[in-house]
Amino acid sequence: MKIIFKYTKTGPLKFISHLDTLRALQRALRRGKFPIRYSEGYNPHPKLSIATPLPLGVESIGEYAEIELEQDMDVSTFVHSINEVLPKGMEVVTAVVSSKSQSLPARVTGQIYRVEVFFKSEKEAEIAKDTLKGILDEDYEIIRERKKKQKIVKKTINVPDYLECIELKEAKDLVIEIEVTICFNESGSLKIEELRQFLYNKLIHVDNINMVRVGLKFIDKVV
């Protein structure tokens, strides 16, 4: 059976990479003695996949992964048992049985971040609230540099093309809290640093930005 679960990755765990996260999950599953299914072939590996990588340095309360088990298992037992063996900073919040054959990573269409923007004065925070309203209407181009075999390849991208919506959630004193949905398109996705740069430049007088991933978007309902 296939189980899709939603979990958190917080605290010092935000400093570990995608592959490290995968290994941490695999080891937790081993500690919990879950009946993991392995791939066939020369070098079998557990059938476990994480929906999409989380950027290093970002915490998340909405990560998704899919695991295949050899034997059926009650979903609530799964959640309870895995939480007993996960390292501090990781916790499974929900899980469902999946009958879809399409893999979880293939179903991801976007990622949702909750962004706290800190300002130095309340006035600046007020102005930013207005700026937000039409923030995606104007093009905003940045140059993305990539090293390709010793050469630096430059590519111009338009940030709003990658942003599905930016929504004001809360505003209090010096802080405004927004929700940003980054969508995946043919040319890939927006990097978290590019989003940060965009917000710094658009909202002016930003003191600090704090981002947490809160969830992902899928082509269909997942959990």
Binding site: I16, L19, R30, R31, N43, P87
Partner: protein, 618 residues
């Protein structure tokens, strides 16, 4: 555990930030208020190396089992992190509490290899702790050190308050208890060190003065504290089944060098290879029982989730119940896809069936360590393997489908001739030919023979402790000769940097005077000398020159049996007369039997064991 904003900003800038965050599975957090003794276990290399060290894991849990002690970990920060720490005026901190090392009662360094010494100085300096023992006050932490390199503690004598010689499980607790007692009675550093020097296995260098004669040889060692012991006797755990072993290990999040369950089958080695320090200082052999090991494997796997078990000892193939142990482990864990790796197997004791099964789970090449290229040289170093045995093993290996062979050799061994060096090539070529010397239909896979050559470093407490080491030039001629000679697509050749090996020789064989060169080199920016990209030989040579240290005096000079060696005051159980007789036998190419076959009278049985080393001993 606190990562403040400042530290967080830094962590986002450095490579592999999880080296510095702590919080790994099974790491231990305590509340400072309840703690009487704070101990920082310091590994003077980068996180990934230090976390692979079994000794750290053992002592970490042993100390943390004591309610009033909190043992934390600290590793050498990589250069990017060092730069950030210095730029932001932050002290080097321990991973668990993020507190500066200055706030600790003890900083305990483990000395695994000489080339980590500059990192020790750097770590102290990064914490704002004075380097020299005599410059540290009452308020500063006590800086202690142990591990294999502590068998010649003298190059670090200026910097370390106390050394622990031998196995640490018992003596470390005795030290902590003594400290607690002194704390309750009003701690005075001097008084404490005096009391500490009375514990067996503890060496407090400041209680001794060393005098040198006109030739620069040691004239005598004079005690400055009358009750300080003349000889420091190593500590040893008698019964491994009863000794402390943790039921869990800290499981790193990032990839480390060895990241798996390690079962320590035994300590010591009975082979008596004459170049091998470990084979002498860890005597006698003491085995853990299969029952105990299986119990440990179970509990460690359950608590870590590791996917591999490795059997670790000096010569794993010599474990008296190896077959039985490996078979049970394979049977038990095959289904859970837990791999078994069998390192440092000696080719005369390989059990192929076993390896083949182990390889099913994880596939790797076969490793052999003939150490020398000719039989004459192997006899001299007492590596009791005959070429025919090697070839038989290789033949079987090929038949079973192996095609990747790794071979380890040394150059610069005492009385080496060109024939011995070329013998390395000849043996590797013979091994290659054996592969193709079979019916065509049997030849499967793509043969790869890798020859790895290291440069011999004479080590204290070995029969070769008096032998001269080759100079950088001589080593380089030899490595170049092999490079010229080994020209085959199927045979690859790599060798260790002779410069690094010579420097290793200086600190392995050095006395108190080389410490000045160490400090100077560190001041000139040397750290992580064991890392190729960091090692700067020219800086080192400049440092020695400025301090007036002649490295040839320590390395290429042949020492006489009468000379007082810098480490003679340490008693590792093996008698000097035995080392001399082994050295003489080496000259004649006479072999010495394995201790399990015949006791050659090294002295360990009388001085440490108080009886025969094994049951039913001959």
């Amino acid at each position: 555990m606190l990562i403040n904003r400042n530290l967080e900003d830094i962590l986002l800038k450095v490579e592999k930030p999880a080296r510095y965050t702590g919080g790994e599975l099974n790491s231990i957090e305590k509340s400072k208020e309840d703690i009487q003794v704070r101990f920082a276990f310091a590994f003077p290399d980068v996180y990934e190396v230090g976390m692979s060290h079994l000794g750290m894991q053992i002592l970490y849990y042993l100390l943390n089992e004591q309610e009033e002690v909190w043992c934390e970990r600290v590793f050498a920060p990589w250069s990017d992190m060092e730069e950030e720490l210095r730029k932001n005026r932050l002290d080097l901190f321990a991973l668990e509490s993020k507190d500066s090392l200055r706030e600790f009662d003890f900083i305990g360094f483990t000395l695994q290899y000489e080339m980590s010494y500059t990192n020790i100085l750097n770590m102290l300096n990064l914490s704002g702790i004075p380097l020299e023992s005599k410059s540290r006050s009452q308020q500063d932490p006590l800086v202690i050190a142990g591990g294999p390199c502590a068998y010649n503690p003298e190059p670090l004598a200026e910097f370390i308050d106390a050394f622990v010689i031998g196995e640490g499980e018992e003596v470390i607790l005795e030290m902590i208890n003594l400290y607690k007692q002194h704390q309750s009675e009003g701690y005075q550093k001097q008084e404490f060190l005096k009391a500490l020097s009375q514990i067996e296995g503890v060496y407090v260098p400041e209680f001794y003065e060393v005098y040198y004669n006109q030739e620069g040889l040691i004239q005598e060692r004079v005690k400055l504290y009358e009750h300080a012991p003349t000889q420091i006797k190593k500590r040893m755990i008698r019964n491994l089944d009863q000794s402390f072993f943790p039921d869990k290990t800290v499981v790193p999040f990032i990839e480390t060098v060895h990241d798996r369950v390690v079962l320590e089958l035994f300590r010591g080695c009975t082979r008596g290879c004459r170049f091998c320090q470990a084979g002498m200082i860890y005597r006698p052999v003491r085995e853990r029982s299969v029952e105990k090991l299986l119990e440990q494997a179970d509990i460690l796997l359950d608590n870590s989730g590791h996917e591999e078990i490795s059997l670790s000892s000096l010569s794993t193939g010599d474990y008296s119940r190896l077959l039985e142990l490996a078979q049970v482990l394979l049977d038990k864990y095959e289904e859970r896809r837990i791999g078994l790796s069998l390192p440092s197997l000696r080719l005369d004791s390989i059990t192929f069936d076993l390896i083949e099964r182990a390889q099913k789970v994880r596939k790797s090449g076969l490793t052999f360590a003939p150490e020398a290229g000719t039989q004459k040289m192997r006899d001299k170093i007492n590596k009791n393997i005959h070429e025919t045995e090697v070839m038989t093993s290789i033949k079987t290996a090929y038949q079973l489908g192996w095609s990747t062979i790794k071979l380890y050799y040394m150059i610069g061994l005492p009385e080496e001739t060109q024939e011995d060096i070329l013998g390395i090539k000849e043996m590797a070529y013979k091994i290659k030919d054996e592969f193709f010397n079979r019916p065509k239909e049997e030849i499967k896979g793509n043969l790869k023979v890798s020859v790895s050559v290291s440069c011999f470093v004479p080590k204290p407490f070995t029969p070769f402790q008096w032998s001269p080491q080759n100079s950088v030039e001589t080593f380089s001629e030899k490595t170049a000769l092999l490079k010229k000679e080994i020209k085959d697509k199927k045979v690859s050749y790599s060798y260790h940097d002779p410069k690094l090996s010579v420097l290793e020789g200086v600190f392995a064989l050095g006395d108190r005077r080389v410490s000045k060169g160490l400090k100077k080199a560190w001041e000139m920016g040397c750290t992580f000398d064991g890392w190729r990209d960091h090692f700067n030989y020219d800086k080192w040579m400049k440092a020695f020159e400025e301090e007036g240290i002649d490295i040839d005096f320590y390395t290429t000079r042949e020492k006489s049996y009468e000379e007082i060696l810098a480490w003679d005051f340490i008693d590792c159980g093996v008698k000097k007369t035995y080392l001399i007789s082994e050295h003489e036998k080496s000259k004649n190419g006479d072999k010495t039997e394995d201790c399990r076959v015949y006791c050659s009278g090294c002295g360990v049985n009388t001085s440490l064991v108080g009886g025969p080393c094994f049951e039913n001993h001959i």
